[in-house]
């Protein structure tokens, strides 16, 4: 069998730290090869070595069975290797055509010859069913479109080895399905694909083989068709993970949070980001607001918690009007908020763990006296949270939060918010960017809260999360609620239709 | 608390270095010793004014007599900083210290007691304790200048050269500036009489701008005067001159400089009403080394000792000649004119004039 990529015994060290430790990685021609691993397992480092961004200390690389030395991305490009990065590297005010051609312009006497390029791109886009408008500006097209532009960029450069770094993170289910199909089409044309991910569903759906890394070490390569998700996840994490979340029914009909006709208008654009939204969250219920990012979910939550001013509408907590209350008053009344951007809103990154643990409670008598902070009490409290919620960091309660891992940062926020014994927990994207273990943990915590009679309002763009955790799903599209669904009765595909605005069941609770 | 020691440790590092430095310093004594020292006042050594004029005298004498010399710049404008610089100069072996300007009055009052073996020369000031009562000890020489005579020369020369619309822009109404101004009016009057001009034919606009700075306001005022027909302005107030020269350059008119020869400053400067700073410092230093230092004296240097002058070689007169200058200078030396000073009259209008009409502008 012919290998297009052979990376033998690759080791990459940063100081004394081996990011990639004696990894051997081989990709056959014409296959989709998944590279699976948790955050920090070394996937990106390995691919960066292949793409010429890093030099390995040890090991050798062969491309198409010829030993090569890849010193920089240009070398990689010459060898036919292309990469779609997780964060697209596009110039916003360029057109699609300009973006694709950038760096590889055909010129004549110093003038651009765009027609040739346009023809080639049109041909490619037809061949691989990558529909694009070559004259649209990057800033005007959707994230999914931008990804197509990145893919076309690789194809335009005649790359045969394509690396996709977590390509589905930003896409809707429909777009993901489309991407999988495009990837398969490309392999049929003889291209080879490396697909970096930690989502097992997608590996199952698209990949032929899968190599697993864990903590920089190579664990093994398996044939996807004969390996179960559970087996792969065990390889990835090193222990068994349960995918089925056991939840007992404990929803009551008693509303904790009532949101009535909420409207939030953007000051600059004068557009209603949230348009006349009403719903209740009941005791013991996890209500999930699903939708594609940017359809008003963030504004809705910021409006409810008080970070954004409301244009109109009412908010009631336990039947008391808290519309006009300040953030602190809401906090005292029983709101807890796990914010969307944990580093921007949830934490003061340069404060220590213990200082962050009392971010909303530092002024309470148990933590201060006559304006002086009782550091001993704060320390004890932080220790308690660390023990109870298993927050790991290098220097315990004195660790500076900036230096903690994303998962532990999130655990700290969850711990702090839950420990305040609130009536409603509003969580936005609480598991974004976290590894499987941390996700599992946070889901368990949310469900545990629900079972003690709290209400949970969960905003998520991750359909697996939406389907698994929630008791009820509201779908938001362009600032309005367009669907009220029961997770047990709906499918991911149906959700996708609501999320893309194709389907709508008129919804009005009030 | 952990950060407590950040810079403390850094400082300790420096200190340990300087501990080594101390030994070094005693091994190799500073060879920057200087017998003749000058302390600058606020400005730089090349301020085209007091510092520079006095410094040139120091250099001239020291080069000629082969003495070591040096100038020191205080760290800030305060009496204590001046005194610290004097301390430093004494430490470096100064035997005589030149202090240009009245800012040194209080520091020298203290220094003359602190260093009885060191001689001090102060220009344009009297040592006092801050109460304006002059106390000139035996080791100190106070030098003043007869500004009214310098001003007289300037006014006389200007009118003799044919100017009839004159201006006087003083800085702040301090005695020295007032003396310049009064002398200027009287010089113009005498020249007008000699020329047989009609009464009031020579006009003098007279003001104190209230500062010694080059400011847009000063320039605007000068420009306005020039615009109203003033042909030459005697700019008598430090950097005020720069503003006036700027205005004159635009208006294609003339300026009379002050204190030192300012002809190099601008083409518009026809002459300068000079105090002979350089010569007076030179003379005082010579007296010191001839062991004839006139300690304890308050000297007023006038024309009889060549204390004031116009720099004729750099002047741009058309009619006023060297012979005219020598003649009038001789008369001043012989005290043929009774030139009134700041103590004699209340204001410029009080000066008796016939030919000259003074317009005082506040």
């Amino acid at each position: 069998m012919e290998y297009v990529i052979e990376m033998n015994h690759i080791t990459k060290e940063f100081g004394d730290f081996k990011a990639v430790d004696d990894v051997t990685f081989k990709v056959k021609k014409g296959e989709i090869h998944a590279l699976l691993g948790e955050n920090g397992a070394g996937k990106s480092t390995l691919m960066s070595i292949l793409f010429g961004l890093y030099q390995a200390e040890n090991g050798d690389i062969s491309i198409n069975e010829k030993p090569v030395k890849i010193n920089n991305p240009n070398d990689a490009n010459d060898l036919g290797i292309g990469m779609v990065h997780q964060h697209f590297k596009l110039v916003h005010n360029f057109t699609v055509l300009e973006s694709i051609v950038l760096g590889k312009e055909t010129t004549k006497n110093g003038f651009l010859k765009m027609e040739e390029a346009r023809n080639k791109i049109n041909k490619l886009s037809e061949q691989y069913k990558l529909k694009i408008d070559p004259d649209a500006r990057i800033s005007d097209i959707t994230v999914g479109m931008q990804q197509r532009v990145e893919i076309l960029k690789m194809l335009y450069r005649d790359n045969d080895i394509l690396i996709f770094d977590e390509p589905t993170a930003v896409l809707t289910q429909q777009e993901i399905d489309e991407l999988m199909k495009i990837m398969k089409d490309m392999t049929e044309e003889g291209k080879s694909i490396v697909f970096i991910t930690h989502k097992l569903n997608e590996i199952k759906a698209a990949a032929n083989r899968c190599s697993v890394l864990r903590k920089g070490k190579y664990i093994g390569t398996v044939d996807v068709s004969v390996t179960s998700k559970e087996e792969m996840s065990e390889m990835m994490v090193g222990r068994k993970i349960s995918f089925v979340i056991n939840k007992d029914e404990c929803t009551s009909e008693e509303p904790v949070l009532k949101v009535q006709s909420l409207t939030i208008t953007n000051k600059e654009t004068k557009k209603d980001k949230v348009n006349n939204v009403s719903f209740n969250v009941n005791k013991g219920e996890i209500l999930c607001i699903a939708g594609i990012d940017g359809n008003g979910q963030s504004e809705l939550v910021q409006g409810i918690t008080g970070l954004l001013p409301l244009t109109s509408g009412k908010i009631l907590l336990n039947n008391e009007d808290v519309t006009k209350s300040s953030i602190r008053q809401k906090c005292i009344a029983g709101f807890a908020h796990i914010p969307e951007d944990r580093q921007k809103y949830g934490l003061v990154l340069d404060y220590s763990l213990k200082e962050n643990a009392v971010l909303q409670t530092y002024y309470e008598p148990k933590f201060q006296k006559n304006g002086f902070i009782k550091f001993d009490a704060v320390k004890e409290y932080a220790k308690k949270l660390i023990d109870e919620f298993d927050i790991r960091s290098s220097q315990g309660e004195d660790s500076v939060v900036r230096g903690m891992s994303g998962g532990n940062q999130q655990k700290l926020i969850v711990a702090r918010e839950i420990d305040r014994d609130p009536d409603i927990i509003i969580a936005v994207q609480p598991t974004r960017g976290l590894d499987v273990g941390a996700i599992e943990y946070i889901h368990k915590q949310l469900i545990a809260q629900r079972c003690t009679g709290k209400a949970v309002l969960l905003v998520s763009f991750d359909l697996d999360e939406v389907m698994n955790v929630s008791d009820r799903i509201l779908v938001m599209y362009e600032g309005e609620i367009v669907g009220d669904l029961n997770p047990k009765e709906t499918t991911v595909q149906e959700l996708g239709l609501y999320m893309s605005g194709t389907k709508r069941s008129v919804y009005n609770e009030a | 608390m952990k950060k407590l020691g950040i810079i403390a440790l850094a400082l300790m590092l420096i200190l340990s270095l300087s501990a080594c430095a101390k030994e070094q310093a005693t091994d190799t004594p500073a060879d920057g010793t200087a017998e003749i020292a000058l302390i600058t006042d606020v400005g730089t050594i090349d301020d085209k004014s007091f510092n520079q004029g006095a410094w040139e005298g120091v250099v001239a004498y020291a080069e000629e007599a082969n003495k070591t010399y040096k100038y020191y710049k205080p760290s800030e404008k305060s009496d204590d900083a001046y005194l610290t610089s004097i301390d430093l100069a004494v430490k470096a072996g100064a035997k005589i210290i030149v202090c240009p300007g009245f800012l040194f009055e209080v520091p020298i009052f203290n220094a003359q007691d602190k260093y009885p073996d060191v001689r001090f020369i102060i220009l344009d000031g009297n040592p006092h304790a801050g109460d304006w009562v002059p106390v000139v000890k035996d080791n100190t020489l106070s030098i003043f200048y007869a500004e009214e005579e310098a001003g007289f020369l300037a006014g006389y020369a200007a009118v003799k050269d044919g100017y009839k619309n004159l201006g006087f822009m003083g800085g702040i109404a301090v005695p020295a500036v007032i003396r310049f101004g009064y002398g200027y009016i009287q010089g113009a009057e005498v020249a007008a009489q000699e020329l047989g001009l009609a009464d009031g034919e020579v006009k003098v606009k007279y003001t104190y701008v209230g500062n010694f700075d080059a400011t847009p306001e000063n320039m605007a005022k000068a420009a306005a005067w020039y615009n109203e027909g003033t042909e030459v302005i005697f700019a008598c107030g430090g950097a005020v001159g720069n503003s006036v020269m700027k205005a004159a350059e635009t208006a294609k008119t003339k300026v009379i400089g002050v204190d030192v020869d300012q002809s190099a400053e601008s083409e518009t400067v026809i002459t300068s009403s000079m105090k002979n700073l350089t010569k007076s410092v030179y003379d005082a230093l010579k007296l010191f080394y001839d062991e004839k230092f006139p300690g304890g004296e308050i000297q007023v240097l006038d024309a009889t000792v060549n204390g004031v002058q116009l720099p004729m070689e750099n002047s741009k007169f058309e009619k006023f000649s060297q012979a005219d200058y020598d003649a009038v200078y001789g008369k001043i030396v012989n005290k043929e004119f009774e030139i009134v000073g700041d103590q004699d009259v209340e204001g410029p209008k009080e000066i008796e004039t016939q030919k000259v009409a003074v317009e005082e502008i506040n």
């Binding site: 100081g15 | 950060k3 270095l17 060879d31 305060s78 430093l88």
Partner: protein, 367 residues
């Protein structure tokens, strides 16, 4: 274990701050030495050591001069550093300093009806209040109208400077020297024998007041809920909003305190009885800008600022002493500026060290 030792200094936060401050100072000194070499290579070495020796060359008097020079810049440094901890760049220390100085002198000259032992205290308090008001205005503009404090406080610098010029001329003008009149003896800060100890007329209990200010600010920042709130606002305005902290109040309060510190600095300098008078000149008070360097070198930490202020004053005294060698006094200004300038890079070095550390700690965490 050996590995741990290697990084222990680099990992602790004070260690990082120390190393970066030391590096900044070292590079600044090196740069200064090069300038000395260029201007007079023969005496560069002794001259350089004279700078390093600074206030320690002259026994007690030298130290006294150093402390005198340090007082105003410690306070303006505190002012800038304190505001910076709250996320505000108080570039208006100069104006606040001048306002404080003026009010102190004004009270010192005019309010002679006050009993002697109260006079200087009232004058200093006046300086504090004047500075606070001058800081308050940019604070209000920032909090309620979102006017950037850098713009408004620069403007306040000029307004303060010209206003003080006008007020001096109208009220307390020494016409001959074009400066303020001398203050009454009772308004001079008591010397409490410090002038005897340090053998210089400059010294008074002002240095103790400055140290007290450092301690108070240190306690506010690190021990109180107010400090907790102020720092949170500075480090993350969004997170403090999320935490329900009233940022508007905190901005105003922070600028108020910062202004008060600068104003106090002005009062302390001009009531020191060192024969220094407020000049009627169109120049912004340089102490305000020196405060920015001091705050940067001290990394906005009050204790760091104390030592940074002393260090810069130490160099200033060294700069006077270097005149013993054959250097043009102007060269000294260049050298001191260069050292201060490089001192401002301490933050840069800190970031570099932290970056290196981050990399090495990532390895350790995964081991």
């Amino acid at each position: 274990m050996k590995h741990k030792l290697k990084f222990s200094l680099m990992n602790s936060s004070w260690g990082v701050s120390f190393i970066s401050a030391a590096m900044a100072i070292f590079i600044g000194l090196l740069f200064g030495f090069i300038i000395l070499l260029i201007s007079n290579s023969r005496e560069a070495v002794p001259g350089f050591f004279a700078i390093l020796q600074g206030g320690f060359a002259d026994g007690a008097k030298g130290i006294g001069d150093m402390l005198y020079n340090a007082i105003p810049i410690i306070l303006t440094g505190l002012s800038v550093g304190f505001a910076f901890k709250t996320g505000l760049f108080n570039i208006g220390a100069s104006g606040q300093f001048t306002m404080g100085a003026f009010v102190a002198i004004f009270i010192g000259i005019k309010w002679t009806f006050l009993p002697g032992h109260l006079h200087w205290i009232v004058a200093l308090t006046g300086a504090l209040i004047a500075g606070a008001l001058w800081g308050l205005l940019p604070g209000i503009l920032k909090a309620y109208y979102n006017v950037h404090e850098v713009i408004s406080s620069i403007m306040m610098n000029y307004i303060g400077m010209y206003l003080v010029n006008i007020l001096i001329v109208k009220n307390i003008h020494d016409k001959i020297k074009n400066q303020s009149l001398p203050v009454a003896k009772t308004a001079i800060i008591p010397k409490a024998g410090l002038d005897k100890i340090f053998e210089t007329n400059n010294m008074n209990i002002g240095i103790l007041i400055a140290i007290l200010a450092v301690i108070v600010i240190y306690i506010i920042l690190s021990k109180t809920t107010l400090g907790y709130e102020l720092k949170a606002c500075g480090l993350s305005p969004t997170a403090s909003k999320y935490a329900g902290i009233n940022a508007k109040n905190k901005i105003i309060l922070s600028m108020l305190i910062a202004g008060a510190l600068s104003g106090l600095g002005g009062g302390l300098l001009y009531l020191a009885g060192s024969g220094k008078y407020l000049q009627v000149v169109d120049i912004l008070a340089p102490q305000g800008f020196a405060g920015i360097s001091v705050a940067l070198l001290g990394m906005s930490n009050p204790i760091g600022i104390l030592f940074a202020g002393l260090f810069i004053a130490h160099l200033t005294v060294g700069g006077v002493n270097i005149q013993l060698y054959s250097f043009a006094p102007e060269v000294i200004d260049i050298i001191i500026s260069a050292i201060i300038y490089c001192g401002a890079f301490s933050l840069l070095f800190k970031n570099i060290i932290l970056k290196i550390n981050k990399r090495s700690s990532r390895q350790e965490a995964s081991k």
